[in-house]
Amino acid sequence: MTRVRFVQRDGSEKCVELDRDVSVMLAAVRNGVSGIDGECGGCLDCATCHVYVDATQASSVLPPSDEELELLSAVSGERRPNSRLSCQLKSLAAIDELVVYVPETQS
């Protein structure tokens, strides 16, 4: 089972197990990870689940769709090359541990 390590801006961390068919966003919300809102539930409407995927792992996950990229174009937190919407990060069976960094703000 894939584990996701969420790193907050103050350096604090929280690890959660990622069930099959559950996105990184939903795992964060269900486990009360601060700084990830996920208002729309994962239908690419709200862009409140922005994270930075660890740069060494950015190519290990499926690349963003055009729609995701358009939402990422003006996210509230700083946009970086490894910015992702965590609702789109799922089916990560090939990864033992995914490390994601939580941005300063979601909206």
């Binding site: 103050d10 009360g32 690419l44 740069a55 358009e70 939402l71 003006a74 509230s76």
Partner: protein
């Protein structure tokens, strides 16, 4: 110590509890909810859930581990029926009274019922809760012809889902256009075309007079105009009503919801309300308003949670809404209200455009159809009070983001940055 008591365990209730706890509130937190379900996601109910693309299990928003981890006691299946502000106790329909030091109303809203002949017939449904959605999904599977009363968000989303499932769907709307209170005519017309192309019958300027049935089942819908539409299922989506009766009866100031300040606080210092059941002064629409949206529920509850923990972080988010119908993504930021100028960016014909609304030369709202990039930029523009000129808004080569540059500084950086 009695601690914090929260009535309601959907987006607002859970967020208030979580924020208070994370902000250092150390007293007991108890949540009571009249539903039997763990807190669940509501937006998919009218869309992916009806279509069978997501399961009941996947709707769960917060599970038992969350409540244990955050030391929040969740009491499901209990309705709060009484409140004594003097003794600070809430009475449950079954079981004991609960004492509190601070109280949050997160009681939400309920579907407005239609009061016409035949309204009690079997097959006249509403959609608000997971139970409603489970029932509607089962009935929709067995139905051939569904009539939807109301061309608002719920009605149109259900119409799109029904059409996708191959059902004959008819929407009856009393006003002259769809989503009249939420969007401008240009967006209403676009959505009308989209639904017509999908085979949905739309009857504008029509009022439903009665439902007919071969008791107990509904068999048809009669309009004021005399038209009779066959139906083996009816979905009524004519708006919501704040669940503020408990607060009102206890003596709190309620006017279309529980009246609260920017911290979600009522006139009584330890009594708060957030989400669909609360009415607040919104500086972006310059009026008192009760909003029904996930964003409003969560952001207002964060403000309340912070205040309860003795911290500060007033609610001042720009209102946001969205709706997915077929492959159309409608996103709304701000409240257009009485706008005096609008500008269109993109192409209506291509199904990708945004409408920028201005009042006194100030950008107050933007509706986007399949233009999420515009919408994201617009959120930041409106939040910061920055208005592109209508000419800039209409010019697709003009970078809206350039008006709101200046980033947020990061703390812990990923290794390579």
């Amino acid at each position: 110590m009695s601690g914090l008591l929260i009535i309601g365990a959907s987006y607002a209730g859970v967020q208030a509890a979580l924020t208070a706890r994370d902000a250092g509130y150390s007293q007991p937190i108890t949540m009571v909810c009249d539903e039997d379900w763990l807190p669940y996601q509501r937006p998919p109910l009218s869309k992916d859930f009806l279509l069978g693309r997501t399961s009941e299990q996947n709707l769960v928003l917060r599970d038992n581990a969350f409540f244990e981890n955050k030391q929040i006691e969740l009491v499901l299946g209990h309705r709060a029926v009484g409140l004594d502000l003097g003794t600070r106790r809430v009475t449950l329909e079954r079981g004991n009274d609960l004492a509190f030091d601070q109280l949050v109303f997160a009681t939400g809203s309920r579907a407005r019922r239609i009061a016409i002949p035949g309204a009690d017939l079997d097959g006249v449904c509403y959609l608000r809760s997971a139970s409603d959605a489970i029932e509607l999904k089962a009935r929709l599977a067995a139905a051939a012809e569904i009539v939807i009363v109301g061309g608002g968000f719920i009605g149109l989303e259900v119409a799109a889902s029904a059409a996708k499932l191959g059902k004959k769907a008819t929407v009856v709307e009393a006003s002259s256009r769809l989503l009249e209170r939420a969007v401008s005519p240009i967006v209403s017309d676009f959505l009308l075309d989209t639904h017509l192309q999908a085979g949905v019958d739309i009857r504008l300027n029509e009022v439903v007079a009665s439902f007919e049935g071969a008791s107990p089942r509904v068999t048809g819908v009669v309009l004021d105009s005399g038209v009779n539409i066959r139906a083996d299922l009816v979905l009524v989506g004519i708006g919501g009503i704040a669940n503020d009766e408990l607060a009102r009866t206890a003596g709190l100031n309620c006017t279309n919801g529980i009246v609260v300040d920017e911290h979600g606080r009522s006139a009584m210092p330890d009594i708060f309300a957030a989400g669909d059941c609360a009415n607040h002064f919104n500086r972006f629409c310059e009026s008192w308003i009760r909003l029904e949206s996930v964003q409003n529920a969560q952001d207002q509850a964060k403000a309340a949670g912070l205040a309860i923990a003795g911290s500060q972080g007033p609610y001042e988010s720009v209102p946001r809404f969205w709706s997915d119908q077929y492959d159309v993504k409608l996103q709304i930021v701000g409240l257009a209200g009485k706008y005096d100028r609008k500008a269109v960016r993109g192409s209506v014909d291509a199904g990708k455009f945004s409408v920028f609304y201005y009042r006194d030369d100030r950008l107050v709202a933007v509706d986007s159809i399949n233009r999420p990039g515009d919408q994201m930029a617009a959120r930041r523009l409106i939040a910061r009070g920055v208005s592109p000129s209508p000419e800039q808004a209409e010019d697709p080569s003009f970078d809206l983001k350039s008006l709101v540059t200046g980033g947020d500084k990061a703390g812990v950086l990923p290794p390579d940055l």
